[in-house]
């Protein structure tokens, strides 16, 4: 078991956002977290790595309970996070953005070098010294993923990687994720685009109003159009 989340509850001030979230990710698995805008996908990710301060529950990563650790400590254990809205450092070059993400290599996770990442995202290799602010949306999205991979994570939380990207870039993203998977990185990906999710995921959870309301394999989800209709507006 790579990651196990139990009874995760989160609040923003007085608002209760997540209710008893439970999910599990196996070694080398790609798991989709599906749900509408505002269903709690991003908050789930932010809570797992400790960016949401008011949270309770048990988060076990690689057998260690990390529920009470600060963000940087959780992340430097090998739990990578790729935020939505492409929070790259616009003032920093591509190389420098990667440098921020760099962490020592880890025995139980694939090791990524700049060259390996530039092979994975050829566009980035062509603009090593370009400031992040002067890149297109697709290039920025690739950079955020590459930046997180520089930390040699064994698990990556990918928040809506296909949002706002052109179909062709989304296809490149599919390829990249499949390569990451092949290298041995476990992945949780939050999505609204079911086509995309289907291409990469082994299993899926559906989240609705802060509660997990389905968990199962993609085949199981395909067999339950009622659930898709009720919770996903797909």
């Amino acid at each position: 078991m790579k990651l196990s989340v139990q009874d995760l509850n989160s609040h923003y001030g007085p608002a209760h956002i997540l209710f008893d979230i439970a999910l599990e990710v196996g070694d080398g698995e790609v798991v989709a977290l599906l749900g509408r805008n505002g269903a709690g996908k991003s908050t789930t990710f932010r809570s797992i790595i400790g960016l949401v301060e008011q949270r309770s529950g048990r988060i076990v990563f690689e057998g260690k309970d990390v529920s009470h650790q600060p963000t940087h400590a959780i992340v430097s254990r090998g739990l990578g996070y790729v935020p939505e809205e492409r929070r790259i450092f616009t003032e920093l070059t591509v190389e420098e953005n990667l440098e921020v993400g760099r962490q020592p290599r880890r025995p139980n996770a694939p090791h990524w070098t700049r060259e390996k990442l530039f092979a994975l995202f050829p566009n980035l290799g062509e603009m090593r010294n370009r400031p992040g602010g002067r890149m297109s949306g697709g290039e920025q999205q690739m950079l955020t993923i590459a930046r997180t991979l520089m930390g040699n994570p064994s698990l990556v939380l990918l928040d809506e990687p296909s949002e706002g990207l052109s179909p062709k870039i989304v296809e490149q993203m599919v390829d990249a994720i499949l390569i990451m998977k092949k290298e041995g990185v476990s992945i949780v990906v939050s999505e609204q685009n079911l086509h995309f999710a289907k291409l990469i995921s082994d299993r899926a959870y559906i989240i609705e109003r802060g509660r997990i309301c389905f968990g199962g394999t993609m085949a199981e989800l395909d067999a339950r159009p009622d659930i898709r209709d009720a919770h996903l507006s797909l």
């Binding site: 509408r36 805008n37 505002g38 890149m135 297109s136 949306g137 697709g138 290039e139 296909s162 949002e163 706002g164 990207l165 052109s166 179909p167 062709k168 870039i169 989304v170 296809e171 490149q172 599919v174 609204q192 685009n193 079911l194 086509h195 995309f196 291409l199 996903l232 507006s233 797909l234």
Partner: protein, 263 residues
């Protein structure tokens, strides 16, 4: 068709930033009641095109003819007065006001009643506001604060606000961004219905090919600032260059729209 008036005609529109051509020599026309999609890779120049059309940026060269008037270089306010409505990529509503009040504010500014101290907003144009909300299917939400609305509903409210202006042309920059697939289809279906009923021309950008192929009458494809293709959904789908730079293998949108891609 020849009787349908041309709302917008653009000729040789160009804009560059510091030597980089964001948009070069773009020309197209848009007729009343027509739904035109502008697609292309991220950074192809779609947003720049939009900004020039609604007056937020001045073109370096080229003509924009809107309802018979040359509007290149005019400020957004003036263009808005000519009958151009916009919805924003980032939802631009007042979160603490109710749904009805948001529409009323739009109506007040359209009627230029901003400085009329004798009219009070609560009563102003209630009937018209109700009609617009009904039109976008939000009649039941009139008294809810906007902050409480779901994302998809906010987008519909935005459409109502844009319609308060009684526009002849709607510019929509990624109108369905961040929405669930079915919500996207529904929003565009609604937009298309209103556009056809009221002979409003619609120009929109979009990355969701399901939405584009389902609703656009015509598609413009922009790459690196230039138009590389223009035509019906079928024509665009079959265009190898468009596939190479933008559409890809068609894995990530609905199979119904992949016709012609296998060739």
């Amino acid at each position: 068709m020849s009787m349908v008036p041309t709302l917008l005609s653009v000729e040789g529109l160009s804009k560059s930033y510091g030597g980089v051509h964001a948009v070069r020599g773009v020309s197209f026309e848009l007729k009343a009641g027509e739904i035109l999609a502008l697609i292309g890779p991220n950074g192809a120049g779609k947003s720049t095109c939009f900004d020039m059309l609604n007056g937020q940026k001045d073109p370096d060269s080229g003509r924009i003819n809107l309802l018979g008037e040359d509007t290149a270089g005019r400020p957004p306010r003036a263009i808005c007065r000519l009958g151009v409505g916009r919805t924003f990529q980032i939802t631009a509503t007042f979160p603490t006001m109710t749904v009805r009040e948001n529409v009323q504010v739009a109506l007040v500014s359209y009627r230029r009643q901003l400085f009329n101290l004798w009219s009070s907003t609560p009563r102003f144009e209630q009937g018209e506001a109700a009609r617009l909300l009904e039109l976008v299917g939000m009649g039941g939400y009139a008294d809810r604060p906007c902050g409480e609305l779901a994302y998809g509903d906010l987008k519909r409210l935005e459409l109502a606000v844009a319609l308060a202006n009684q526009p002849k042309l709607l510019l929509m920059d990624e109108p369905t961004a961040g929405m669930a697939p079915r919500e996207r289809i529904e929003l565009m279906r609604l937009t298309a219905r209103i556009a056809r009923e009221q002979s409003i021309g619609v120009l929109f950008t979009e990355h969701d090919m399901d939405v584009v192929f389902e609703h656009a009458d015509r598609i413009l494809v922009l790459n690196r600032g230039s138009l590389i293709a223009e035509g019906s959904p079928e024509q665009v789908r079959g265009n190898p260059e468009v596939r190479a730079v933008y559409l890809g293998e068609g894995l990530v949108y609905d199979a119904r729209h992949r016709k012609g891609l296998s060739a």
